[in-house]
């Protein structure tokens, strides 16, 4: 919808002899903020990554993500009864693992982070899981070996369910420079991965997802015709998560920014956050897993 609006504008502007040039913009240097990326899933210990914001026009090296993390913080998760002080396992990097509390559907978890003399707080709830009725793969149009992942969902009759769809190909490349390596090393959330039941509350229907890719991925099948498609022969694990509203808002605004990057008519919304005193997200997940054999 949004895209189509830009399309019109772009078409018209292209017609009207527009001109584009690089300019330098003098944005005042801003203070550094703490970014929280934390999660607690059902039956799993919490994980929290702390990192810091970067100047707007600085150079970002994505292989050095870990260097931007903040070690030495005190990270505490509590379910109201138990308290879990997360451990920083890697000495120089701000990645913190829980060891006491495993997530349970329907429970709320508070997070408190003490870092650089500041305290950041947040709370999340793990919703009850919703299982997909079935999943399958279907060739798209006349693409003979490429297709999307499909699923049938029966949404519970209560408004306000939010979901996130992630997928991972666990078969190995049988060709190319990555031969012998598993196609996806982790679960990937594609564009539009988070959604809510506002439009389909209580309905039972089919829907499809394209294959997600990481930003700036230069893998061969992320840049050629296979981009966005699962290929005949792939084995795909679908991780279908129930998430709370704050996580949904975070992923939705995240998506909107990623999509509008490089689009002159994009009006990127600020990223929603549930972290008091910082940026990022503290999210509870209730995942359900399914496997698709693409054939």
């Amino acid at each position: 919808m949004k895209r189509s609006k830009y399309l019109i504008l772009s078409g018209l502007i292209a017609l009207l002899f527009s001109c584009e040039k690089n300019v330098s913009v003098d944005i005042p240097t801003a203070s550094e903020e703490v970014v929280v990326e934390g999660r607690i899933e059902t039956d799993t210990f919490p994980i929290v990554v702390l990192s810091k914001t970067l100047p707007f026009f600085g150079e970002i090296n994505r292989n050095e993500f870990l260097n931007q993390t903040i070690p030495g913080a005190t990270v505490i998760v509590s379910d109201g009864t138990l308290t879990d002080t997360l451990l920083q396992i890697l000495p120089d990097y701000g990645v913190y693992f829980g060891t006491q509390i495993r997530g349970q559907a329907g429970k709320s978890y508070t997070l408190s982070v003490q870092v650089n003399g500041k305290t950041l707080r947040s709370v999340t709830t793990i919703p009850y899981p919703v299982k997909l009725d079935s999943v399958w793969w279907k060739v798209n149009g006349n693409k003979d070996s490429l297709g999307f992942a499909w699923a049938h969902l029966t949404d519970p009759d209560t408004i306000g369910n939010c979901y996130q769809w992630l997928a991972q190909r666990i078969n190995k490349y049988t060709y190319g420079k990555d031969i012998g390596r598993q196609k996806d090393s982790v679960f990937v959330a594609g564009l539009g991965s988070a959604f809510e039941d506002k439009f389909f509350n209580g309905k039972s229907f089919d829907f499809s997802f394209a294959r997600g890719t990481f930003s700036f991925s230069d893998k061969e099948d992320d840049t050629n015709d296979e981009q966005f498609y699962f290929k005949r022969g792939d084995t795909v694990v679908v991780k279908y998560c129930s998430i709370d509203r704050a996580s949904f808002e975070f992923w939705r605004t995240e998506d909107s920014q990623v999509q509008s990057n490089g689009n002159p008519f994009g009006s990127p919304a600020p990223i929603s956050t549930n972290i008091n005193g910082g940026l990022g997200i503290w999210a509870g997940y209730a995942p359900q897993y399914d496997t698709i054999f693409c054939k």
């Binding site: 399309l7 300019v23 707007f56 600085g58 990481f214 930003s215 990057n261 990022g280």
Partner: protein, 787 residues
């Protein structure tokens, strides 16, 4: 000044002194060659210089003691007419004025009494002469009155190629745009690059910036009153033109000579022809585009009797954008536009009470339809008004002009609605919502000349607005944002009502016959609001009523001005200062996304705040001679404060402009050649840019807008345009002319949008700011003809 003292002054101005034996001279003033009504013609008595001016229907009325007089009609650009008369009874005197120099009519800057700017109480009011506008440089050859008014001090352009305008710190929705008394809700074509007004069909354009007299209301910032031509009632004639963008044709003529006439005018663009072969290859991304717009204006008028005249006029315009992807079955269809219809009846009671009754329909709608394979969706919004107006003008005495009347509008709003389906399954994207409102006003306005030095114009307008059912109010859960409850209102049931008294007061003090001081105070309320999400003005912007959630906007403006003419009224100049406060300004809440409104009301997502602006406007204009034009300069400040935006701190809105300069010059080289030039300069617009970035573990780079709203000012906008008009050799049966324009002569790349793109190489990511400029130097040629 508080309200009470305003009322007292108003009442003081009202009493009418008793008159001795008085008679009334009244009638209509028109142009001889075409029979068009002349608006603002001066009618006065040679003996005592008592006089008046004709109203927007060409009617005048003058009541004076019995006696022997010479009645003079005068109008700049026309020959004076003197009529001796013995006034011993009421007299009807219609007249037709002759052009004084037909060939150079275009040189006339303004058709007004030469020192009207000094003598009236009017401030911040400008009248534009269409013939003059036509000789100025025009963007791609399209003469555009909305762009011309942006050349006046106190009026800022909304941006490059945009016909939206901001008056004294008010938003674009705070301008009342009337076409033959009908509201035009979206006055632009092609996302604002062109205005909907076809200059061939327009007779008069008057802009009032604030301190509107009490007969106008409903908006905070300004009134742009546009009158369509009436049509030549002497002979059949036509005019037209072909430019780079569109072609135009206007036909007019008598229905019955001297009694009735018609005019019909059409304009259509032909840029869509260039989207197809051979200009764009079939596989190109834009080859499936098709865009055009058209306008139709029509008007008839008929004099039923000496005291009755009937006018019917209408406007219909559409923009249509179609896209069909050449590579898939994805399609989009986007039509939008305005339609207006006005029926008016002028009636004269006795000799000095003039009534205009109007019945008006106006509609604006926008649709967006698209789909692919089985999936299709439609988005639509709009507004429809049914309007009845009664306006009386009473001239009991040459010192008194009393205007009173009332109006009633029934509004039907269609805020953004959507439907979607995939195959046979319809998605629940919310009920189709409409909102209904009654909007009424009564007013009384009196202009009273106390003596030669003091002239007072006082008015009072009482406004009433009520939103009525059927209406569903969704009550939202504060955490999830989902509707948890609905309040249902039945048809006609009160949802919310508002009512206000709006005093208006203006005073003039003549220092001498060449200079005057003026002051004014006015209060206005605005009950309908434009919800605009994007940083540029789009046809998707929706109108919404005041409701239980959205309070009416209200504004108070104080203005002071000094007016001075020199060189036998060859030059006029003015300095005005103003201070304006605005309450209940609305904006979308921070982080609002359009899909939030599904199963909810749009006005659940607004936040309200206040605004204020102040500034000074300088204006000097040369009216006469081969070389004429004007210079306008504005220095101004506009601020907003919303408890829920920008952490409650004051911020400058996007269109806060510190400096605004416009220079308009024209020079008549010979009877055939005419040169024009304009130069504009404006402080750059403000934008909100992110202050820092952060990286997620999945590699996504996100921007953080944590800082000050509108924290970055784009570089200044400036541009020079030139034009030359060549008239064809005079011919008995027709006239023709060529207009050559060059837009942006020194090819300035003015910023339109700045956006950010990420460059990725060798695992290094940098963010680059990119500026888009729309229009480089663009020459154009337009051919015009008249017969």
């Amino acid at each position: 000044m508080n309200k009470i003292s305003l009322y007292v002054l108003f009442l003081l101005a009202l009493p009418l002194s008793g008159f001795s034996q008085q008679f009334t001279i009244s009638g209509f003033v028109k142009e001889e060659s075409t029979g068009e009504s002349l608006v603002g013609a001066n009618v006065y008595l040679k003996e005592n210089l008592k006089g008046t001016t004709s109203n927007s229907y060409g009617f005048y009325s003058l009541t004076v003691p019995a006696g022997t007089y010479t009645l003079i009609f005068s109008f700049l650009g026309f020959q004076n007419q003197e009529i001796p008369l013995v006034l011993d009874k009421d007299i009807r005197q219609n007249t037709a004025l002759k052009n004084s120099f037909i060939e150079t009519k275009e040189v006339t800057i303004t058709a007004e009494k030469e020192d009207r700017n000094i003598q009236s109480t009017e401030m911040g009011r400008q009248k534009l002469d269409i013939e003059k506008i036509k000789t100025l440089p025009a963007f791609m050859g399209e003469v555009d009155i909305l762009k011309s008014i942006q050349l006046l001090p106190g009026v800022s352009s909304a941006g490059e190629g945009n016909s939206g305008f901001y008056v004294r710190g008010g938003g674009p929705d705070q301008n009342l745009i009337l076409l033959d008394e009908a509201n035009v809700y979206n006055a632009s074509h092609l996302f604002g690059f062109f205005s909907v007004f076809n200059s061939d069909a327009i007779q008069n354009v008057t802009l009032t910036k604030g301190n509107m007299p009490a007969n106008y209301g409903g908006r905070l910032a300004s009134v742009l009153d546009i009158q369509m031509k009436e049509g030549n009632n002497q002979r059949f004639s036509g005019e037209g033109g072909i430019g780079f963008v569109s072609s135009r044709l206007t036909l007019e003529g008598p229905i019955k000579k001297d009694t009735g006439s018609f005019i019909i005018s059409a304009r259509r663009t032909f840029i869509d022809l260039f989207f197809g072969k051979p200009f764009v290859s079939e596989s190109s991304d834009i080859s499936g585009n098709k865009y055009f717009f058209y306008d139709l204006n029509a008007k008839v008028n008929y004099r039923l009797s000496d005291k009755d005249r009937l006018f019917l006029s209408g406007y219909f315009g559409r923009d249509v954008f179609n896209f069909k992807s050449p590579n898939s079955d994805f399609y989009i269809r986007v039509p939008w536009g305005n339609a207006t219809a006005t029926a008016r009846w002028n009636h004269l009671f006795g000799n000095n009470l003039f009534l205009n009754s109007s019945l008006i329909y106006t509609n604006y709608k926008f649709e967006f339809e698209g789909g692919q394979n089985d999936f299709s969706f439609k988005l639509f919004s709009g507004i429809t008004d049914y309007n009845l107006k009664e306006d009386f003008t009473w001239n009991p005495h040459p010192k008194h002009t009393v205007k009173f009347g009332g109006q009633y509008i029934f509004h039907v709003f269609v805020p953004s609605n959507a439907t979607a389906k995939s195959g046979e399954v319809s998605f629940d994207i919310g009920k189709i919502l409409r909102q209904y409102a009654h909007d009424a006003a009564i007013y009384l306005n009196d202009e009273y000349e106390i003596n030669d030095r003091w002239l007072v114009n006082a008015g009072l307008r009482h406004t009433y607005f009520q939103q009525v059912g059927p209406f569903d109010r969704y009550i939202l859960d504060p955490i999830s944002g989902n509707a948890t409850d609905t309040i249902k209102y039945k048809t006609g049931e009160n949802v919310k009502r508002y009512s206000h008294l709006e005093p208006r007061f203006a005073i003039r003090y003549s220092i001498n016959h060449l200079s005057s001081l003026k002051a004014s105070v006015s209060q206005n309320n605005q009950y309908i609001h434009l919800a605009s999400l994007s940083s540029i003005s789009l046809p998707t912007d929706t109108w919404i009523p005041s409701s239980d959630k959205v309070k009416p906007q209200s504004g108070t403006q104080y203005a002071l001005g000094y007016f001075r003419n020199f060189g036998l009224n060859t030059y006029e100049s003015s300095v005005e200062v103003y201070y304006k406060t605005m309450q209940n300004q609305i904006e979308y809440e921070e982080g609002f996304l359009p899909e939030n409104t599904v199963n909810s009301n749009l006005d659940n997502y607004f936040v309200a705040g206040k605004g204020w602006s102040y500034g000074s406007e300088f204006f000097i204009k040369k009216n006469k001679g081969k070389f004429n034009g004007w210079i306008g300069y504005t220095i101004a400040w506009t601020k907003r404060r919303f408890p829920d935006l920008n952490n409650g701190k004051t911020f400058f809105p996007k269109y806060d402009r510190r400096h605004d300069v416009s220079i308009v010059l024209s020079y008549e080289i010979s009877k055939r050649w005419m040169l024009g030039a304009t130069w504009v300069y404006a402080t750059g617009n403000l934008n909100t840019f992110p202050e820092r970035v952060f990286v997620l573990s999945n590699g996504d780079i996100l921007q953080d807008y944590g800082g000050q709203r509108n924290n970055y000012r784009l570089s200044a906008y400036h541009r020079m345009d030139v034009s030359a008009t060549l008239k064809g050799k005079p011919h008995k049966n027709y006239e023709n002319s060529w207009n050559f324009s060059i837009f942006n002569v020194y090819n300035r790349y003015n910023p339109y949008i700045i956006y950010f793109d990420t460059d990725y190489s060798n695992d290094k990511i940098t963010i680059q700011a990119k500026q888009i400029s729309l229009f480089p130097i663009i020459p154009s040629v337009t051919y015009n003809f008249k017969f």
